[in-house]
């Protein structure tokens, strides 16, 4: 299993009613890779990310996480997910950060972070609190440990959300437009935290509109359009010399 990619998605299809959102997306993500997924809105990039962690179900295709099958499709086209406890265990290898943070407003910053390790992993409070404090220090918010999320700025909220995901010790981190809901002056602090994670060789898939981040931090950039991956290449190459005309047009628009 050593050679299994962290994520293997093969021919993933997804539709919402009659609207085909993913038309056969395939992607391998190796350990330590940082993938930036870019593309116009409605291209299916967020949906693809959500399929990886089973927030959406696929209608065809295969997804394997660290060699373990989450969903597979047989020759007749029947799509089968593994049983629920397996899904939970496999998706537990991944952490996710959302555009709108999704912090729990009734819990303090510290409680947000220790909730899942205690409830899901059964850790005792005194085991997890020191770890949570290390994570808070890492994202620079230790002094906010007893604040409620409503007292934090957007950038602080997102950093807490990152710490909360990391507290479950995932092997892979998924980011769904983590800075899109932030005021421009607050994106920097979140991107810095993500860059730090990338430098620690966390495997990351980042759906983003931050082209500078994608170019500088990502090892590979993927351009999606209309439910398909149009171009997937080392980030610097893709930004320096996009091959596909649609990629070109998109980047010219963005930069």
């Amino acid at each position: 299993m050593m050679n299994d990619p962290m994520i293997r998605a093969v021919d993933v299809h997804k539709h919402f009613g009659p609207v085909e959102v993913l038309k056969g997306v395939s992607l391998d993500v190796a350990k330590g890779e940082v993938i930036a997924v870019i593309g116009p809105s409605g291209s299916g990039k967020s949906t693809f990310l959500r399929c990886l962690i089973h927030l959406e179900t696929v209608h065809r295709g295969t997804i394997r996480i660290e060699g373990e099958t989450l969903v597979s499709t047989d020759a007749e086209g029947h799509c089968r997910y593994v049983p629920d406890p397996e899904i939970r265990r496999i998706c537990g290898k991944m952490g996710m950060v959302f555009q709108h943070f999704n912090l729990f407003p009734h819990l303090t910053v510290l409680q947000n972070i220790i909730e899942a390790p205690m409830t899901v992993k059964g850790l005792r409070r005194e085991e997890i609190v020191p770890k949570a404090e290390v994570l808070l220090k890492k994202v620079g918010l230790l002094e906010k440990r007893d604040s409620y999320p409503s007292r934090l700025s957007g950038g602080q909220k997102q950093r807490v959300a990152i710490a909360r995901a990391l507290a479950m010790e995932p092997d892979i981190m998924l980011f769904d437009e983590p800075t899109s809901a932030l005021d421009p002056e607050l994106t920097g602090e979140v991107l810095r935290t993500m860059r730090q994670l990338a430098e620690e060789h966390m495997t990351m898939v980042v759906v983003t509109h931050e082209m500078a981040f994608a170019r500088e931090v990502a090892s590979r950039a993927i351009f999606m359009d209309d439910g398909l991956i149009v171009e997937a290449r080392p980030a610097r190459e893709l930004f320096a010399a996009p091959e596909h005309p649609r990629t070109k047009a998109f980047l010219e628009n963005m930069l």
């Binding site: 999704n102 009734h106 409503s150």
Partner: protein, 217 residues
Amino acid sequence: MNYVFDILPPLLQGTGVTLQVFLITLVLSVPLGLALALMRISRFKTVSGLVNGYIWLMRGTPLMLQMLFIYFALPFVPVIGIRLPDFPAAIVAFVLNYAAYFAEIFRAGIQSIDRGQYEGARVLGLTYAQTMRRIVLPQVIKRILPPISNETITLVKDTSLIYVLAMNDLLRAARGIVQRDFTTTPFIVAAAFYLIMTLVLTYGFQRLEKKYAVYDE
């Protein structure tokens, strides 16, 4: 003034009955209402459909009718026909009726919680039950305190309906004295008692709301 003291014992006795009906109903109908709400939002259509019908029935007919039915008609219903004494019959009617109202309050509260909360919990590995218990319901309580408070205060006054089963609650006790002594003073005393009970409840709910005000959403 002496007269007021003279009529206090029967009125206090009536208050005792009123409080019993109130407390037992509250303690039983809130959890039942929560269970109904969770069934109502179930993805199993039969379950949610049945609960939907139940709520329609309970909110669509008068509580007094339900009480009379359980006391007088239930014994003659085939299969489940049982004869209940007056107090249990009243309690059953109140619990079944109030649970329907509480269920709708809980449902509205649960459905007002942002989908992102479920997703946030899900990607952290929480099961549906854990998400409900640890994430959703604590937030629901804060949101539904005002309507729950409303319903609870209504319940205090609705208890006076048990007079139809000839039980001596506060209001019936007062009325008995009014008819005996040809004075309306017992009504005024009874009103004062109701006001004291609702005052205590109002205060209690205000305290709860304050407690939940430590966080904003």
